[in-house]
Symmetry: C2
C-alpha cells in the first residue's frame, strides 16, 4: 500500500522477480535498470505441496544468487502470481494452481530466503514493471491493460497501485460492456465482460463470427476457427484481408470505448497496453484510439496517451514482479 | 494530493467551508466534530467581477469570524466549487458561474484572509465530508455518488481523494451505461451517460416515459411530466402506485449495475449515496442493492456496503468543503 519504487537509494543492487504461472515459474535476478542478470525456471505444477515448490525454487535459485554475489546483494523479492494479494502476501483460491485455498507464498519465501517478499497479481506486477523500468517511468497516474488469455488491469493512482479494501482492485477485464441479449458469456459466469471481446479467445470468437457472416475469401478460412490467434489475424490484415481488418476494428472499438469509461475514474495520463494483441500494431491501436477519442468526455479529450509496453514480452512478467522487490 | 484529514492534531479549532453554487455561496465555520458554529450566505451571481465577490465574502464572514474568536482560530479554508481543481486551486471554465475561463479562487481567498485555502469540486468535497464527519469515517476506500441535478462522484483510494493527472478524476456520472439506439442524450453531448438516468431530470424523464407507455392510473398523472421530482415519485410509491415503484426499480437498476462496474476499479468498502433521490429510502436503495448484487464480480460479492449519507442535506456541502480546510 505504501509502495514507492525506491531504486535510486537502495544499497543492495538486485531484486528477485518471480513470474508464477500455472505451468511454469520463471525467476530472474534484476538490477536497478531492469536488466535480468540471471534467470531460472521450475515447473509450478510438478509440486502439489507448496513447501516442495519453495524448496525446489530456492535450490534452483542458488546459481543465480552466485551470479549476483550472494543473497546479501538482494534487496527483496517480488512475486506476480494468479490471485496474489498484496495486503496478505497470499495466493487466494487461484483456479489454475494446484494449491487449494489460501497459500502464504510471501511468508514461505521470506522464511526460506531471509529477505522481504511481496506478492501481487500479474496485471498489477505489469503496471509496476512499466512504472519502474518501462514506458510509464515517471508517470503517477496510468492504467495498465494486459491482453492475454484474459484481460487484466493494474491501476496506478498518485504513484501507487490501487489495491482497494481487499487487495483485489483493478479487474477492468470484467467491466460489463454489453448488456444486449447477444452479450457474450464470460468465464466469470456473467455476460458481456470486456474480456469476452478483447482476450485471445475473444478475438478468436470474433474471427469465427465474422467469418460465418460473410462468404468473402480470407486467409483465416485456412485455420480451424477456434485456433485463430491475433497473430494470424495480424498476418491476414497485413495481406490486406478486409475481414481481418474488421476483426481488429471491432476489438479495438470495444477496448477504446471501455477505456473512455475507465478514464472517468482516475483521469490517467496514459493507458499502457501489453500482450499478444498489441503485436498487431496500428491495426489494433488505431481503432482503439478512434473509439477512445469518439467517446472520451470533453474535459479529458487529448489528455491520455495510448501506449504499448516497451518491455520485452518474455521478460516483462519477471521484471514486473521484480519491481515489487525494491519496496522498503 | 497529500490530503489526510488531520483534525486530531490541529491546534486551531475551526475551518471555513465554502459551498459555492451558481446562485448562492454558503460559508460555514466548522469545528473538529463537524458542527457549523456560524454560517453566512452571499449571492454568487451578484458579482460579475470575482474580486468584488471575494471582498463581499470577506465582509460577510467578519461576524462569523468573531464567533470563532478571530481568524487566528481558523486553520484553513476549503472551497467546493463547480469545476474546482484541487491541483491548481482554480475554478476552470465553470459553465454556470459568471466568471469566464480560469479563476484562481484559492489564491484570492488566501490573499484576502491570510490562511491556507484549498479548492475542489462539489462531489469530491462531499466525499471528504463523509470521510471527515460522516458515514465514511475511518474508511480508506469508498466511492461517493451525488445524485442531484447531475450525477457526481468522488473517489477515495487509500484515504485520499483521487484527482488524477489533471485534477478532474471522478466523473462517474458520465459513464456510458447504454449504447443502444434508445440511449438518452446527455448534456455533455454524448449519449447513454449514467446521469441521464439517475439525475433529477433523469428520474423525471423516466417518469414521463413510464406514464406514457401505460394507461394505469397514477397520482403522478396530476403533475406536469417535466415537473415530476423524485420526491413526488416517492410519495406515489408510498401510496402504492405501481408506476412509481417501477420508476425507482428502473433507476436503481441502472445505478446498481453501474456501481458493480465501478467496484472493479477500486474495490471499495462502501458506496455512499447522497442527494434528493436517496430520500426515497428503500424504494430506491433496494433496487440499487438488488442490481448491484446481481452483477458484482464474484470476488467482490458482499464486500461493499451501500450507504446513504447521514449528513444533513443543508449542511453537507459546507461540511464537505470545510473538510479540505483541515489539510496541512
Amino acid at each position: 500500500m505504501d509502495f514507492q519504487p525506491n531504486i535510486q537509494t537502495s544499497e543492495k543492487p538486485y531484486v528477485i522477480g518471480l513470474d508464477m504461472g500455472g505451468t511454469n515459474s520463471v525467476f530472474g535476478i534484476v538490477d536497478q535498470r531492469g536488466n535480468i542478470i540471471s534467470q531460472t525456471v521450475i515447473s509450478t505444477k510438478a509440486y502439489p505441496d507448496v513447501s516442495d515448490y519453495v524448496a525446489a525454487a530456492v535450490e534452483a535459485l542458488q546459481p543465480c544468487l552466485e551470479v549476483a554475489g550472494g543473497i546479501d546483494n538482494i534487496k527483496g523479492m517480488g512475486i506476480g502470481a494468479p490471485n496474489g494479494n498484496f495486503y496478505t502476501g497470499c495466493i487466494e483460491y487461484a483456479a489454475n494452481l494446484l494449491w487449494d485455498g489460501v497459500v502464504p507464498i510471501g511468508k514461505l519465501f521470506e522464511d526460506a530466503l531471509g529477505i522481504p517478499c511481496r506478492v501481487t497479481n500479474d496485471a498489477n506486477a505489469a503496471a509496476l514493471g512499466e512504472m519502474t523500468y518501462g514506458v510509464a517511468r515517471g508517470m503517477k497516474n496510468f492504467v495498465m491493460i494486459t491482453l492475454g488469455t484474459g484481460v487484466g488491469s493494474g491501476i496506478v493512482v498518485d504513484g501507487k497501485v490501487v489495491y482497494g479494501c481487499d487487495g483485489f482492485a483493478g479487474e477492468l477485464g470484467h467491466a460489463i460492456v454489453d448488456r444486449s441479449p447477444e452479450a457474450r458469456q464470460c468465464g466469470c459466469s456473467r455476460k458481456g465482460c470486456l474480456e469476452t471481446y478483447c482476450s485471445a479467445t475473444g478475438v478468436a470468437r470474433t474471427a469465427r463470427l465474422m467469418l460465418e457472416k460473410s462468404d468473402a475469401p480470407s486467409p483465416l478460412r485456412n485455420i480451424a476457427p477456434d485456433q485463430i490467434t491475433s497473430f494470424d489475424v495480424f498476418q491476414a490484415a497485413e495481406a490486406g484481408d478486409p475481414i481481418a481488418i474488421e476483426i481488429f476494428n471491432y476489438t479495438g472499438e470495444k477496448l477504446g470505448h471501455a477505456c473512455a469509461n475507465f478514464a472517468l475514474f482516475s483521469a490517467p495520463e496514459a493507458f499502457v497496453f501489453f500482450g499478444g494483441l498489441t503485436k498487431a500494431g496500428h491495426w489494433i491501436m488505431d481503432p482503439i484510439a478512434k473509439a477512445y477519442d469518439e467517446e472520451i468526455l470533453g474535459i479529458y479529450k487529448g489528455k491520455a496517451k495510448l501506449l504499448v509496453s516497451t518491455l520485452k514480452g518474455s521478460e516483462a512478467a519477471v521484471l514486473g514482479a521484480s519491481a515489487l522487490g525494491w519496496e522498503e
